[in-house]
Amino acid sequence: MPTSSKLIVMGGSWGGIQASLSVLKDLPASYSIPIILVLHRLRNQEGSLQEVFARKLLLQVAEVEEKEPALPGHVYLAPANYHVLLEKDHTFSLDDSEQENYSRPSIDVTFTSAADVFGENTVGILLSGASRDGSSGLKYIFEKGGMAVAQDPHEAEVATMPQAAIDSIPGCSIMNVARIKEFLLSLHEH
């Protein structure tokens, strides 16, 4: 299967599961851009998150496996206890090094790595969360010419994470969940 020249990376913490489900719910199974989702969760928690997403989405839901390519029509969940990195050939690498921002998986790590590979074709979306993880990665995406989107803090269950991004990225787009969904649909190439 051909890989995509674009990539969507999405991150969330507290309130992020609900927000990401709402964003992704109506995206078609044929959606043309691979999506990587990094959600903070409890350490050593097993894969039930995958079932929750698989039940509600039209897209294929898979946990990231190392060396597998990021393909269109898929949402890839970062596994508990590993950072997710991207290789130049659009395959995944996993990394169990130090936590970043008290998190592994860390949103910053994946956002940064995605921008290194996909550059201006990276779309970063930061959703609800009580952490400061994600904003420096989102800033890095923006600096590489990619698109930085933060969930509207007024709507987010916890505003800390998207607000941190908005405060540090002057060109950050602020959207509510409905608007993010529309935006993602507009990127879809039939």
Partner: protein, 276 residues
């Protein structure tokens, strides 16, 4: 178009990998690049080095500095009883089979600072097997081997390790395995009385013994497919018939040429058995 700075950095890392091989003999050519780039950038930041030229100058003029670099480039983050269900599975399904051998040999490949090694030793002790088990603990890095031998870990980690120990089927008082001193704890040296520590590089060294169990968790994720395949063959050569191979939770034998000779014993904990 990708900005040129990235490409330049990547070329510089490739040149560095070649020169490290020539100068120090360590071969990183088979390491997955995304992680190498990230580790190098991180190291530059921590050492306040302005760029790759400064890094090269230090690395090739100061072997002590290189040792330090080696430790940072190879990930040495580890913990005791990581993935407690893995250790529980080992205790319930693998050790009873190993106990049928008069003498047991285990290879802990990539033992890092020893947290996994001490976890294995505690398991073997509680199952009454430690006295007739010899563990070979190897790592690419001499410095972490020294740490592993000492068995000194931060006291602040003990609460989490104790919880993981009980989740892994721990039968005793976890605190009974160590003595505390100034923010550190030291695990009983009797746990590693039958352990031999020595440097072994999975990327370049050969098989050196035959084992009933090879444990190598979260090491292969840092290697490309080609190097992974080399290591799988190395493990295959190093396992007795009906021996066990334990990988990390996100590592798999599935894509390997040796996989037809292996049964998967515990899928979620990635425990394989050599059946032919």
């Amino acid at each position: 178009m990708k900005p040129r700075a990235d490409e330049l950095f990547e070329q510089e890392v490739e040149a560095l990998i070649r020169d490290i091989h020539t100068t120090y003999g360590y071969d990183f050519s088979g390491y997955a690049r995304a992680s190498v780039y990230r580790r190098v950038k991180r190291f530059l930041g921590h050492k306040h080095l302005p760029g790759m030229d400064a890094l090269r100058e230090r690395l090739f003029s100061d072997s002590f500095f290189f040792e330090n670099f080696l430790q940072e480039i190879t990930v040495n983050v580890t913990e005791m009883f990581r993935d407690p269900t893995f250790f529980l599975s080992l205790r319930q399904h693998v050790l009873p089979i190993l106990s049928t051998y008069p003498f047991i040999k285990i290879w802990d490949a990539g033992c890092s600072t020893g947290e996994e090694l001490f976890s294995l030793a505690i398991l073997l002790e509680e199952e009454g097997l430690l006295g007739r088990t010899k563990i070979y603990a190897t790592d690419i890095n001499q410095k972490v081997l020294k740490q592993a031998k000492e068995g000194i870990f931060p006291a602040s980690s003990m609460a989490a390790y104790a919880a993981a120990y009980y989740a892994a089927g721990g039968k005793r008082d976890f605190a009974g395995y160590y003595t505390s001193n100034y923010g550190s704890v030291k695990f009983a040296s009797s746990l590693v009385r039958n352990v031999v520590f020595y440097p072994h590089n999975l990327a370049t060294d050969t098989s050196f013994n035959e084992f009933h169990l090879v444990v190598c968790r979260n090491v292969l994720i840092y290697f490309n497919r080609q190097l992974q395949e080399r290591v799988f063959n190395l493990f295959d050569e190093s396992l007795v018939s009906l021996g066990y191979l334990a990988l990390g939770k996100k590592e798999t034998l599935a894509m390997s040429g040796i996989s037809p000779r292996y049964d998967i014993m515990d899928k979620s904990n990635r425990i394989y058995r050599k059946v032919s």
